[in-house]
């Protein structure tokens, strides 16, 4: 068994609901985010197209973060979930540097000022901290909602199928862009999606074998991977990059020459 996720880039509509769901589920400190959205823009002959990439820990099958960790605080469970034991972590941050996907965050004091900085913690926060201690001085990352998976499976539920055994981000995605399931099971929904749409992993060249796959019309490589024009993530977003001055400033800074397209 190897838990994995398929993210359909053609469906994601950049609502940030997965980011929020993760924050609520894990009572994340104010300046820590486990699941993130990043945007990618392609300009083809003046036609600007934006895609959004939901990213989180890839729960790599060959995780550099685990190999780098000097204390075995980072480890990989038999079901493929990469975990951090905060009671063992010494806060050396080697894993933060070794993770090629920059998915780990060192929780320093200033990242955890409370939800209302300068005020006492709310009852909600206090309760949350009992469930998720978030130790300052240690490193954190997405855990695939391992607590939901374990508790759900103990009740006989199936992750990816039954909501109470499925990661919060997957449950909450209103566009159904996220699918969760067992990568080792060829009949699981995730395996079928990867096969059908030529799912790809981010930066596969690192040899980390991520358990998070993407399907997209553009960079999966195969023609079957193309979504119809109206379904493309950026179809309704062309406007955004032209009006947002702040974005334009960044665009100017981050221009990257791509290869010419046939």
């Amino acid at each position: 068994m190897r838990w994995g996720m398929v993210i359909n880039l053609a469906k994601c509509m950049r609502c940030h609901a997965c980011v929020a769901a993760c924050r609520v589920e894990h009572f994340l400190p104010l300046h820590v985010t486990w699941a993130k959205l990043i945007a990618h823009e392609v300009d083809e002959g003046g036609v600007v197209d934006v895609s959004t990439y939901p990213v989180r820990c890839n729960h790599c099958a060959d995780p550099p973060c685990v190999h780098a960790c000097p204390t075995e605080a980072s480890y990989r469970r038999e079901d493929g979930i990469v975990m951090i034991d905060s009671d063992k972590c010494i806060g050396c941050r080697y894993c933060v540097i070794a993770c090629p996907y920059q998915n780990r965050t060192f929780l320093s004091k200033d990242k955890d000022p409370g939800y209302f900085p300068g005020y006492a913690k709310t009852g909600f926060e206090r309760k949350g901290r009992k469930l998720y201690p978030h130790q300052v001085g240690t490193t954190e990352k997405c855990n695939f909602c391992v607590e939901r998976i374990d508790a759900g499976m103990a009740k006989g539920r199936r992750p990816g199928i039954d909501r109470d055994a499925t990661p919060a981000c997957v449950n909450t995605c209103q566009a159904r862009a996220l699918t969760f399931g067992d990568l080792d099971d060829p009949e699981s929904e995730v395996s079928k999606l990867i096969r059908k749409y030529n799912g790809f992993q981010l930066r596969a060249e690192y040899g980390t074998d991520p358990s998070v796959y993407y399907i997209d019309y553009r960079i999966g490589g195969a023609p079957s991977n193309k979504a119809p024009e109206h379904a493309r993530t950026g179809y309704n977003m062309k406007h955004a990059s032209t009006v947002d001055r702040d974005a334009a400033r960044r665009l100017g800074r981050s221009t990257v020459k791509g290869e010419a397209k046939q």
Partner: protein
């Protein structure tokens, strides 16, 4: 054929989208890692060359640089310093894969073996033991010297291995990095040993200077090869090399590493060959410059740690 440009951007997570610098090991509290690594190079170099040259005081200073500076600085950097023991074998089995766990092991063995070596050689030098006891002490000293010598080299190099392990930081991800750590450290050690020699007057400074000259030239070539290697590799490694040569770290590179770390010590070293008068003053200048160069080198290397972006179409 239509021209295609790809750009990546977003407001809160641009570090994943653009090639961004690593900050954990160089900014804010991360500066402790930089300092620890500098003392690691200075301690390694001094201890090693002093051990070979048989200078007890210099080996003591080299050992102290590791014990009093490198290790505490690393310790203070940790988010949970009191748990440091978790990184030391046998409390962890991570040494099978983790260069930091290996480094902790190397440092611990060096500190222990170095202590024994210092103690035994003190006994020998001061004639505290005689007869069969002296034979025993000499034997233990011999074993401890080999152990300490091997493990100080490993202590000085492991950070280079740890950094070169990071595939997403192409400027570091090369087998040359541990070699840079070793050779630069030895050159630092030679400079410091000359400094000790100026005080104790029991060091063959002329001989050290001629070795140092060769090593400085080798190191200058090594830097050129390292940068050329980075330049030849596409993308982010080249970006980091450019950052060092003409970018934000250029001042540290040209003034700190090239001018103070190599050119000035090398020029002084050549000039002293023809000097009739007292060479102590220029030598002190060379040693100070060289040591500043050691600080600059580690700073620039850590600063040049630039990640590849997460998305495949970026740089």
């Amino acid at each position: 054929m239509k021209a295609r440009t790809s750009r990546q951007w977003i407001v809160p997570h641009e570090w994943m989208v653009l090639p961004m610098r690593q900050v954990e090991w160089i900014e804010r509290k991360g500066r402790l890692v930089w300092l620890a690594e500098v003392f690691s190079a200075l301690g390694m170099g001094l201890y090693l060359v002093a051990l070979i040259a048989g200078n007890w005081w210099a080996t003591l200073i080299g050992w102290l640089l590791i014990v009093l500076f490198k290790m505490p600085l690393h310790l203070f950097y940790l988010g949970k310093p009191l748990r440091f023991w978790r990184a030391i074998p046998p409390f962890t089995k991570a040494w099978k894969t983790s260069w930091l766990a290996r480094g902790m092991f190397f440092s611990t063995v060096f500190i222990a073996a170095g202590f024994v070596q210092l103690l035994m050689s003190y006994i020998i030098i001061n004639g505290v033991a005689s007869g069969a006891a002296l034979d025993g002490v000499t034997f233990v000293n011999w074993i401890a010297s080999i152990l300490a010598g091997v493990f100080i080299v490993l202590t000085g190099m492991y950070a280079g291995f740890a950094m070169s392990y990071c595939k997403s930081v192409p400027f570091w991800n090369t087998d040359l990095l541990p070699l840079v750590f070793l050779l630069m450290g030895v050159a630092d050690g030679l400079a410091l040993l000359m400094g000790v020699g100026l005080v104790t007057h029991d060091v063959d400074i002329e001989r050290l200077e001629s070795i140092s000259r060769v090593l400085l030239i080798v190191n200058a070539l090594l830097i050129v090869v390292y940068l050329a290697h980075a330049w030849r590799r596409r993308s982010v490694a080249k970006l980091a090399a450019r950052d060092l040569l003409v970018g934000r770290t250029a001042l540290v590179f040209w003034i700190g590493i090239v001018a103070l770390g190599i050119v000035v010590p090398l020029a002084i070293s050549f000039a002293t060959v023809f000097m009739e008068s007292d060479i102590a003053r220029p030598l002190i200048v060379a040693i100070v410059c060289h040591t500043i160069g050691a600080f600059a080198l580690k700073y620039a290397l850590l600063k040049a740690g630039i990640y590849k972006s997460v998305l495949p179409e970026a740089l």
